[in-house]
């Protein structure tokens, strides 16, 4: 039931998308141990998160980064968690809820650096299935100060300064690549966009006409209904036109 909602989704044209495609020949089992390691770290570092997830009982979340050629299944069982990776959507088992968005947004959400509602309002994030379960997950994750760096670094405390710098350097590179790519994207798609805009305008005009016709139909229906009501017993006998005179001053002071 969960997946049809996302079949029409288009991934953002981002560095992640290209990196994902570049890495996709690697078998998924290459990444599985990394995922397992990271979840283990999360459980160890942020036990309170899982306490807040206990009321969910048994629940499965499909997490679908829209710009990666893989997806995750997060399985919770009364506060215990398991994470599995899948390279193809079709392999993903049935889940209670699905969360989907660019991986960069999902990571920001994990770290509590962005408001989940705001991402949803701006349509960057999509959810389907059990909305309450998604909300519980979001609230639980947000209750701790999760840091990806903290999770990633593990016990290698002495490497921290170097890795920290490397991570921030990477973030800078990522930002730049992102900007470059959007430039390329715009250049590539501009002719199509123009064509598309013309078609859209056409469709808008047609929709407007349809709306007008629908409105007419509704009006006629309402008139019919009213005419029918007027025939009922204890009739709405003395309906008069609204009172023209107004005993209360209209621009009353507040």
């Amino acid at each position: 039931m969960q997946d049809q909602n996302f079949s029409q989704e288009y991934p953002p044209f981002s560095p992640v998308l290209l990196a994902g495609i570049a890495l996709s020949p690697l078998p998924i089992r290459f990444f599985a141990p990394i995922a397992k390691y990271m979840l283990g770290r999360v459980i160890k570092l942020y036990p309170d998160v899982f306490k807040r997830l206990e009321p969910l009982g048994h629940c499965r979340f499909a997490v679908r980064p829209s710009d990666l050629p893989c997806c995750f299944l997060l399985e919770l069982d009364h506060g215990k968690a398991q994470l599995s990776l899948f390279s193809r959507l079709d392999d993903l088992p049935v889940s209670d809820a699905t969360i989907s968005g660019p991986i960069s947004s999902l990571v920001l959400l994990l770290e509590g650096k962005v408001d989940g509602d705001a991402l949803f309002f701006s349509r960057e994030l999509a959810v389907s299935g059990d909305t309450e379960a998604v909300l519980t997950l979001r609230n639980a994750i947000d209750s701790a100060d999760i840091s990806l760096e903290e999770i990633w670094l593990g016990e290698t405390g002495f490497l921290r300064p170097i890795t920290g710098r490397a991570l921030s350097g990477f973030a800078g590179l990522y930002e730049k690549a992102n900007r470059d790519l959007s430039l390329i994207k715009n250049a590539l798609i501009s002719p199509v966009t123009r064509q598309h805009q013309l078609l859209e305008d056409d469709l808008d005009r047609q929709q407007e006409q349809l709306d007008k016709m629908e409105k007419e139909v509704r009006k006629i229906r309402a008139q019919n209904a009213r005419a029918q009501n007027a025939r009922t017993p204890n009739a709405r006998a003395v309906r008069e036109t609204p009172v023209a005179e107004n005993p209360v001053a209209e621009n009353e002071e507040d």
Binding site: D48, E132, K215
Partner: protein, 326 residues
């Protein structure tokens, strides 16, 4: 003027304090508070830590126990008031007459505020709560204009707290059964409005359709900012036959531009809504309001900050504070 900020989790609480909140208000993790959402809120132990943390920084913690106790099952609410008193919070925010009565008799020294859910919108009602239960502050319902608030303050001897930013009830708070009409769960009884357990999103032909229980609340074309399906902020068809936001658009309350007027009116505290929102929201809104309020209190021009990205439907309104809203 006090800046009263929301926290749904210990992490959001730290974010609020870091961003300059004078007071953080929280709720227990059960049906005793009006943000009874899954995964949210504080255990008594978490509250104890929160109070210690806030106290160390010279700030305060209020606890909202603002739903209406269930007939024949008063003990969860009584226990909540007892724990808040025992932990030593700075005030409890209550709505129910029976619970105010209980709190006053059992814990006369525990400071009592009247929740917005009590919908006290005039001096007679507010003075009643003052004389009957010795409430020290009233959180005003979002139905009054700034001029009405100023006039009201002259007729009561209770502090006033007003909503400044966040989700906006367009109905008189605490007097609305729309949510339970559609879902069986209400703010007054269950601490939820349009609960997520009854929300469904469907993606259909380039449109996001949001449903609450059996009712379609809205549809959003893919390029339009979306809103949560709170039922008074949906698109419906009324008399004209055209779909429209019959009650209110998906929008956030934002009174930043009116801070000088609210200060002049004698309002004691500004409240930010959003215990259900993430800590990123709390950080952004609280720090923006801290800067704006500090400027307004110094008599400087209030720097207007863009909150579009965090607001519902990416829009905001001064709501009922301006008369033309009605």
């Amino acid at each position: 003027m006090e800046l009263v900020c929301p926290a749904g989790t210990p992490s959001a609480l730290r974010a609020a304090l870091d961003a300059g909140a004078d007071v953080v208000y929280v709720g227990f993790r059960d049906e005793t508070n009006a943000r009874n959402f899954p995964g949210l809120n504080f255990s008594p132990d978490e509250l104890r830590e929160a109070v210690a943390l806030a106290r160390g920084m010279g700030r305060q913690i209020y606890v909202a126990i603002n739903t209406y106790p269930q007939a024949g099952n008063l003990s969860p609410w009584h226990k909540a008031v007892d724990s808040a008193a025992e932990i030593g919070v700075d005030a409890v925010i209550l709505a129910d007459i029976g619970l105010l009565d209980y709190a006053q008799k059992r814990h006369p020294d525990l400071r009592r505020h009247l929740s917005v859910q009590a919908s006290a919108s005039n001096p007679e009602a507010i003075n009643f709560y003052r004389s009957a239960f010795d409430v020290q502050r009233v959180v005003l319902p979002r139905v009054l204009t700034v001029r009405e608030i100023a006039a009201l303050i002259g007729e009561i001897d209770v502090e006033t707290e007003v909503f400044a930013f966040g989700g906006m009830c367009v109905m008189a708070e605490g007097r609305c059964s729309l949510s339970s009409y559609a879902t069986g769960k209400s703010p007054n009884m269950n601490g939820v409005c349009s609960p997520a357990s009854h929300v469904n999103y469907e993606q259909r032909r380039g449109k996001l359709i949001s449903k609450l229980g059996d009712f379609t609340i809205n549809t959003f074309p893919d390029n339009e900012p979306a809103g949560y399906p709170t039922l008074c902020k949906g698109r419906f068809v009324g008399q004209s036959g055209d779909p429209s936001y019959l009650f209110e658009e998906p929008t956030s309350l934002n009174v930043m531009a009116m801070l000088p007027e609210l200060i002049a009116a004698g309002v004691k505290a500004l409240k930010i809504e959003g215990r259900q929102r993430g800590k990123a929201y709390v950080s952004q809104v609280v720090s923006s309001y801290r800067r704006a309020l500090d400027a307004a209190l110094r008599g400087e021009v209030v720097p207007l900050m863009d909150m579009g990205n965090i607001a519902e439907g990416a829009r905001s309104t001064p709501g009922a504070y301006q008369k033309n809203w009605r």
